[in-house]
Point group: C2
Chain length 191, copies 2
């Protein structure tokens, strides 16, 4: 990833916020101009096309997200607590009325370049791999059922996060996501 100056980062911040709250096709360079205080021509200086913006935004987001996953895994040595740590992040996002940025871009995938789409697929794969490791750890620690297949269960957990988030946001009820996560974790323990 390139080095970006403060203006570029502010632009990405706002673009990311719009993407998570409204979708990639629901904001314009004019919106960024209003919110950041630089003209649209300046925005084009940093991100010549909106596809470039999407690419940088995705790069930065995925980078930060993967760093955060590492931090959660370092902070907690319990597989179950790692999943709960990840869940907490999703719950906080939805309580701000936002959706997962990559989830939103996945919905808007037809508007995005192959390059961005490929990075989105990687995002889901990496996150799933991280979840699978935590589940594997949880099984070894006897917190989760030995019957679980870590890979399949990781797909289920991630699907639950994304889908629960989509519906919780629609209902404006962050607690909805909390409930479905609690339920899937309970089933991981008792299967």
């Amino acid at each position: 990833m390139k080095e970006l100056n403060s203006t570029a980062h502010k632009l990405l911040d706002i673009a990311e916020h719009y993407t998570q709250t409204q979708g990639f096709n629901a904001f314009s360079y004019k919106d960024l101009q209003r919110d950041v205080g630089v003209k649209t021509s300046t925005i084009h200086y940093y991100f010549p096309t909106k596809q470039d913006l999407a690419l940088c935004m995705t790069d930065r987001y995925v980078d930060n997200f993967l760093t955060m996953l590492e931090a959660i895994a370092t902070e907690s040595s319990s597989g179950q607590e790692q999943l709960e740590g990840l869940a907490k992040v999703y719950i906080r996002v939805v309580s701000q009325g936002k959706f997962c940025m990559c989830g939103m871009l996945a919905a808007d995938m037809s508007s995005l370049s192959d390059e961005v789409n490929s990075k989105l697929s990687d995002f889901f794969k990496h996150t799933e791999d991280w979840i699978a490791k935590s589940i594997q750890l949880g099984i070894e620690q006897k917190a989760f059922s030995a019957e679980l297949d870590p890979v399949t269960s990781a797909a289920l957990f991630l699907s639950t996060l994304e889908g629960g988030m989509l519906i919780a946001r629609k209902h404006k009820r962050p607690n909805y996501l909390e409930i479905v996560i609690t339920e899937v974790l309970t089933q991981f323990r008792n299967r």
Copy 2:
């Protein structure tokens, strides 16, 4: 719901297709003009604003969906088979490269009127109620664990469908959705 003539239905068909494949903000009246073969002014005759289009589209979709749910419940007297029947529908949709129309509109909720948003919330609530009934039935039939809470598990199942669909479509791998559904149903049996 109003009675709509053949042209209006064709327009809704195409609008629905665009919504499920690209999102509500990613198609225009010009796209409908090209695909249906009537001028944009004619489309405005049927749907004066794009919000009106969204409303009619949602009404028709939800109507058809709830009818389909009734049909599935009638066809199959097994709770587990009812859930599998619903799952099959979602798998077919994702195998066509589409997302759940209400799921997509839920992502685009900031662009939609309160009326449409309220209908979307109802869609998820009704579908969840239907799922809860099937789970309750499955418990009575000893197919699902007696430990399950039907309401909570229904929220989990619906979240899994929506999230699994979002990710499966991103990966262009309908089988992904099939796997997560199989997993959640397995956990319903063994909890």
